[in-house]
C-alpha cells in the first residue's frame, strides 16, 4: 500500500496549549481517509500540516515521500498546486464573484482559454448543486451555498489529493448526499487521495476507506469502517454512539 502522506511523531502547540503530542498518521494513496474527533481536537490542524500551512513544533511531515517539514514557502506553494483544500468556513475571496473564485486556480495555473474556463467553472458549480451563481458575490449567498462554492474551488483543477474540512457540516441531507457522492466519484476518476474531516458519521461510513480517530492529541483508533465500528476502544464506541457516559470528558 503506497502512502500519500505521513505525519511522523508530530507535536503541535499553540502557546501553552498542546494540540498534538507524538501523533503518527499514515494517509494511504488512492483512498479516502476520514478523520473524526471532538470539536477542538485538532482535525483542521491535521489538514493544515498536510499541505504545509502549519509547521509542526517537532516531528516530520512527508508528502509523496518528500519531507516538507522544513520546506521553504516558495516550494510549498508549488507543492500545494497538487493538493486541493476545501476550508471549513469556505474562505472564498470576498472581492471576487463565485465564478471568479472557482476560476482563479485555472486562470493562474493553466493556459486554458477563457471560454473553456467558464464552461469548466459552471460545470463544477453545477456538480455541487450550484447553477447560475457565477456572477454573485460570496456575501450574497447562503452559508451552505458558499460552502459548496469553496468545495468547487478546491476540486476544479482535478488535484491529485483533496483535503476536505467538514464538507457537509450544516448542509441539508440531499446536498450532503450529493457532496459525499462527489468526493467518492472524484477520488475514483483521478485515482487520487482524499482526506476528509467530518462529524457526519453517516456519510463517513458511506465513503471512508479508512477512519482515524483523533483524541487528546493522538490517533487512538485507525482502521476500515468495519474495524472502527467493531472497535473495542471505549473512546471510539462512546464517540460513535454520541453517548454522554464513557471515558470522554464532557
Amino acid at each position: 500500500m503506497a502512502l500519500w502522506a505521513q505525519l511522523d511523531d508530530v507535536c503541535v502547540r499553540y502557546g501553552p496549549k498542546i494540540v498534538m503530542q507524538n501523533l503518527t498518521l499514515d494517509v494511504v494513496e488512492g483512498a479516502i481517509t476520514c478523520i473524526i474527533g471532538l470539536s477542538g481536537a485538532g482535525k483542521s490542524t491535521i489538514l493544515r500540516l498536510l499541505n504545509g500551512l502549519k509547521k509542526p513544533d517537532t516531528g516530520r511531515v512527508f508528502v509523496r515521500g518528500n519531507d516538507i517539514t522544513d520546506m521553504r514557502e516558495r516550494d510549498l506553494i508549488d507543492l500545494r498546486r497538487t493538493i486541493g483544500f476545501a476550508f471549513q468556513f469556505s474562505a472564498l475571496f470576498d472581492s471576487l464573484t463565485i465564478g471568479e473564485n472557482v476560476a482563479l486556480p485555472l486562470r493562474e495555473h493553466t493556459k486554458m482559454p477563457d471560454a473553456e474556463i467558464r464552461k469548466l467553472v459552471s460545470e463544477t458549480l453545477e456538480s455541487v448543486g450550484l447553477a447560475h451563481v457565477e456572477d454573485r458575490y460570496p456575501s450574497e449567498l447562503s452559508g451552505g451555498m458558499v460552502k459548496r462554492a469553496g468545495f468547487a474551488r478546491a476540486v476544479v483543477t482535478n488535484p491529485q489529493a483533496v483535503l476536505y474540512d467538514e464538507p457537509t457540516t450544516g448542509l441539508d441531507p440531499i446536498i450532503t448526499h450529493v457532496l459525499t457522492d462527489t468526493i467518492v466519484k472524484l477520488r475514483r476518476r483521478l485515482n487520487g487521495t482524499a482526506v476528509v474531516v467530518s462529524h457526519d458519521l453517516e456519510s463517513i461510513f458511506q465513503m471512508a476507506d479508512y477512519i482515524a480517530m483523533l483524541f487528546e492529541g493522538a490517533i487512538v483508533a485507525y482502521g476500515t469502517v468495519d474495524e472502527i465500528k467493531r472497535s473495542p476502544n471505549p473512546i471510539v464506541q462512546q464517540f460513535l454512539q454520541g453517548s454522554e457516559v464513557g471515558p470522554i470528558p464532557i
Binding site: N51, I77, R80, I83, F85, A91, F93
Partner: protein, 258 residues
C-alpha cells in the same frame, strides 16, 4: 530587572519586525525582478490607492502652502524681500513639504486600508486559501500594492507641490501684494530642477514604506476583528514614524545640508 527585560524584549521585537519586513520586501522584489506582475490588479490598486487620495492631497497641500505663505509673506515684505517669498515656498514645498504631506496623508488613508484589507483576509482564512491554491500572497496582493504606491505617491507629490505653490502664490498676492510674475520668477530661480526630482525620489521611498508596513502588519494579523483594528492602527503609526525618520536621513544624504 523588569525594565531591562522589557527593553530587551522590545529590541528583539524590533529586530524581528525589521527582519520580517525585509523578508517580505525581498520576496516581493523577486517577483518584480522576474516580471511576475499582475498588471490588472496593479492598475486597480493604483486607482484605488492613488486616485482616491487626490482630493485629500489637494486640500491638505493647498492649505499648507497658504499658511506657509501667510507666515512668511507679510514679514518678508516688511523686511523688503517680498521677491523671495515665491522661492521660499517653492523650495520648501518641493524638497520637504510636498513629499512629506502626501506621504503622511496616504499613510493614513491607504496604509490603513491595506492593513485592514489584508488583515481581514487573514482572519477569514482567505490568505491561507490563496496559499492552498498554490498562489503566493506576496505576488497576488503585496506586489500590486507596492508598485501602485511607488508609482502613485510621486504623482500625488507632484500634485501636492503644484497645489501648494499655487496656494502660496494666491495668499502672497492677497496679503502681501506680491505679483504672480515675481512669485513665479522667484520660485524658478530658487528651486533647482534636481531638487524636485530628489523630492519625488523620497516620495517613492515613502511609497515603499507605506506599502510594506501596511502589508506586513495586515499579514501578521492575529485574533479576529480586534486584531484587524490593532494591525490597522499599528500600520499607520509605524509608517508615519518611519516616514519622518527616513525623510531626515534622505534629506541629509540627498541635499547634504545644502
Amino acid at each position: 530587572m523588569k525594565v531591562f527585560d522589557e527593553v530587551g524584549q522590545g529590541t528583539i521585537n524590533a529586530f524581528a519586525y525589521a527582519g520580517g519586513i525585509a523578508e517580505l520586501l525581498a520576496d516581493a522584489m523577486r517577483y518584480i525582478a522576474a516580471l511576475r506582475i499582475r498588471v490588472r490588479e496593479t492598475l486597480d490598486q493604483s486607482y484605488l490607492l492613488g486616485v482616491q487620495s487626490v482630493s485629500i492631497v489637494i486640500l491638505t497641500s493647498l492649505f499648507t502652502g497658504m499658511v506657509f505663505s501667510l507666515e512668511s509673506a507679510v514679514q518678508a515684505v516688511e523686511y523688503g524681500v517680498g521677491n523671495l517669498v515665491g522661492g521660499a515656498v517653492a523650495f520648501t514645498t518641493a524638497r520637504e513639504l510636498g513629499p512629506m504631506l502626501s506621504a503622511v496623508v496616504v499613510a493614513g488613508r491607504t496604509g490603513a486600508a491595506i492593513a485592514a484589507e489584508l488583515g481581514s483576509m487573514v482572519v477569514t482564512e482567505q490568505i491561507e486559501a490563496l496559499q492552498s491554491l498554490g498562489l503566493s500572497p506576496t505576488r497576488m496582493l503585496v506586489v500590486p500594492r507596492l508598485l501602485a504606491l511607488v508609482i502613485m505617491l510621486p504623482l500625488l507629490t507632484i500634485l501636492a507641490d503644484v497645489v501648494s505653490i499655487i496656494g502660496g502664490m494666491l495668499v502672497a498676492g492677497a496679503y502681501a501684494h506680491i505679483s504672480q510674475e515675481s512669485f513665479i520668477a522667484s520660485a524658478r530661480s530658487a528651486l533647482p530642477f534636481g531638487d524636485v526630482l530628489k523630492g519625488l525620489f523620497k516620495s517613492a521611498v515613502f511609497g515603499v514604506i507605506i506599502a510594506m508596513i501596511g502589508s506586513y502588519q495586515g499579514l501578521q494579523t492575529r485574533g479576529g476583528a480586534a486584531g484587524v483594528g490593532k494591525a490597522t492602527t499599528g500600520a499607520v503609526v509605524t509608517s508615519i514614524i518611519l516616514i519622518f525618520m527616513f525623510n531626515f536621513a534622505l534629506s541629509y544624504i540627498l541635499y547634504g545640508g545644502h
